[in-house]
């Protein structure tokens, strides 16, 4: 099969709705298809990546740890809107330190998350073949 550029666009906070969790389930499956995969986090979607989520008090599954596993599946392009972070009083330091190991660079550990401007996001989006929204 041909290789296409897939972007998964995440704009909702976790737990209030299922979109964040079921988006992650798609991404895990997508990893098996050998396509060019990137994830975009905008608006309240940036809360999906915030460090220190604890769901003990609401009786729901904490799926945030799953993001750490994505690097092992070569999913390592997480683009986070700088404007969305700033608007919410968040910075890159508030996000989980997601990493991947670069096979071509002696398995050096590299960060998966890139904070980008909306203008850069717009450019990335225009390069996609498929954009799935959650």
């Amino acid at each position: 099969m041909s290789t296409k550029k897939f972007m998964y666009l995440n704009r909702r906070a976790p737990y209030g709705t299922v979109y964040a969790l079921e988006s992650l389930e798609v991404v895990l499956i997508a990893a098996a298809f050998d396509q060019d995969v990137s994830l975009a986090f905008m608006d309240d979607g940036v809360y999906q990546l915030v460090e220190g989520q604890n769901t003990d008090g609401i009786g729901m599954k904490n799926f945030s740890k799953t993001f750490h596993a994505l690097g092992d599946y070569d999913i390592n392009q997480f683009f986070v809107s700088a404007e969305s972070l700033t608007e919410r009083g968040l910075s890159a330091d508030d996000l989980m330190p997601l990493v991947w190991e670069d096979e071509d660079d002696d398995w050096a550990e590299k960060p998966s998350v890139k904070v980008v401007s909306n203008v850069e996001l717009s450019k990335l989006m225009s390069e996609q073949d498929v954009c799935l929204s959650f």
């Binding site: 737990y15 209030g16 709705t17 299922v18 609401i58 009786g59 729901m60 599954k61």
Partner: protein, 133 residues
């Protein structure tokens, strides 16, 4: 105090049903009476005995069933709106027969009834709290 609850969204897609369940459980623990839980709109989907959630996740339908909310006659007071339910494919045996459908999917801890039950809950209860999208 007598408290009733209206739930407007189905399980899993929105947190509404989870929050309502935690609220109901806490109210019972504090000695209040849950007079009725009325499932409306997509909320009717909380009553499906067909749900099979992943093993590491909560079971929203069973959570509700475990509260075992019944009236003095022993009838469930987890009430599913019939009009909303028919539209969305939630049926008990009676509605299935009446409409010529070859199956039914309501969990026995719930019962199907009319919208009047929501109004009556508002009249009979000291409080009615809505959970939705």
């Amino acid at each position: 105090m007598k408290i009733s609850i209206q739930i407007n969204e189905g399980p899993y897609q929105h947190q509404a049903s989870d929050t309502a369940y935690q609220f109901a459980k806490a109210a019972i623990a504090k000695g209040h009476e849950i007079f009725r839980v009325f499932f409306y709109h997509d909320g009717v989907d909380n009553a499906s005995r067909f749900t099979v959630p992943p093993q590491d996740d909560r079971n929203v339908v069973n959570n509700w069933a475990s509260l075992d909310i019944k009236n003095a006659d022993g009838e469930p007071e987890l009430v599913v709106c019939v009009a909303a339910a028919l539209r969305r494919g939630m049926l008990d045996e009676g509605e299935a027969d009446k409409n010529g459908i070859d199956g039914n999917n309501i969990h026995p801890a719930f019962r199907i009834s009319g919208l009047g039950q929501l109004i009556e809950a508002g009249i009979q209860s000291d409080r009615l709290v809505v959970f939705g999208d």
